[in-house]
Symmetry: C2
Amino acid sequence: VSWCARAAILGVGLIGGSLGLALKARGIAAQVVGWGRDEGKLRHALSAGVIDAIELDPGEAVRGADLVIFATPVGSFLQLAKSVRASLAPGALVLDVGSVKGALAASLHGAMPPGVNYVPCHPIAGGESSGCAEARADLFEGVLAIVTPVEGTEGTDPGALARAMEFWELLGATVRRMSPEEHDRIYALVSHFPHLAAYAIVNAVGEIDPGAIGYAGRGFMDTTRVALSSPDLWQEISLMNRENLVRCLEAFERSIGEIKHYLSTGDPEGLARVLARARALRETIGH
Amino acid sequence: VSWCARAAILGVGLIGGSLGLALKARGIAAQVVGWGRDEGKLRHALSAGVIDAIELDPGEAVRGADLVIFATPVGSFLQLAKSVRASLAPGALVLDVGSVKGALAASLHGAMPPGVNYVPCHPIAGGESSGCAEARADLFEGVLAIVTPVEGTEGTDPGALARAMEFWELLGATVRRMSPEEHDRIYALVSHFPHLAAYAIVNAVGEIDPGAIGYAGRGFMDTTRVALSSPDLWQEISLMNRENLVRCLEAFERSIGEIKHYLSTGDPEGLARVLARARALRETIGH
């Protein structure tokens, strides 16, 4: 008997596609049905064996599913929840994989019909790539999966939370639990802000001399790789977490100002001290 | 007959060590002698087969060498040039691998004794790692090697320049020629500035919540990897190229300000446009 009889994956891109492959490879779901806006891409995912069946209507996709995963861009979650609400099966577990939690988690929680439990999740996997063609069954092995239950007496059901945590563990992830607000504060810092910084680095080069980019080496490639990420997706994520992000960018302006100060005053010890402070912190997470 | 009879490598770290391995693997030099400040590290490089012989005095290392390569941190080049000047063999070709050219190239050019030719070089190889243990014979294959001849009638000898270009081609690099000033302007943009930006990203995280770094995923690792680079080396490089760098950081502040503006005003189209502009430029150099 599978952990889940019918899993519906809404959005079969890099994350959704990798979930499909992993659910099938590990025998977690007996059947995986996929929904997405682009029928051509869905048919490609089906023929690639990423999903077992496709539905062109999200309501049909979730009908009878005991596990439903929202894997579209975060900006579409609320509308999607509304459009599948009437079709969700009683007892279904609904998860998402969005990079922002906070108010969105609370809204999705409130949008579920009675008897359906939603658990906000964020697997720290994926990256600047997108699309089902990049999907991998082992994408979640060894990564962090953050679960952010909505707190309070009317909050996330403890049984559903336990089941969501078990789900990510079955995929090989290490589960961490925190509040939606704590998630957004932390991931502003270590994900959303660095994305915006990478885009800003490229735009600064573009302002001064776009042609210089042809001389870039590996360091530049690494530092700006996430600027290959989808502008639409990252615009959505950034605006949903804008208060934390503005705070990060203000701290960033101070840390750039500190470096500029030592450059302008020509202070080697001061500059080396600032760089060494960054390196010491960066070293704590390895190469 | 080898391209060079005796090559002296001053500074046997990642770049110097890789040069030693490549010169030997490709039969470019009949003998490779290494000098460095740390006798223990030199002996380790010798026993690892990175170099054929060691010298504890830089003057002794360059004596009789027809090829001399400065591969120590750029801040030490001028002092090193003074200390080997009297021992350089007439006809010797002197190269460096420093990340800054500009005034330093002119100074080194002026520090050479009669009959010795110096060609300023910068192979775009290496990275945040350092030390001979990371050295690889193929480090220069397929990378750019920039040569920046000092211009004018008293400038770099054309024959020496041709020989330096041939040297990098023998190592598998693609050679590009530009002026020392053009080099510093371009590499401020695509190397020095992104390094400072990466250090500043980590310091911004450190200011707000150093503990958050433990939640980082691959995007953060990529974006800040070069902040693992040596603070002493990058302090030297940054101060030697400070005028270009201050200009880059000012453009960077504008590009961050642009993003902050669209976050603050909550403008999805404006923000997506800024991110898309960055992605379009970043895409021109691939993944």
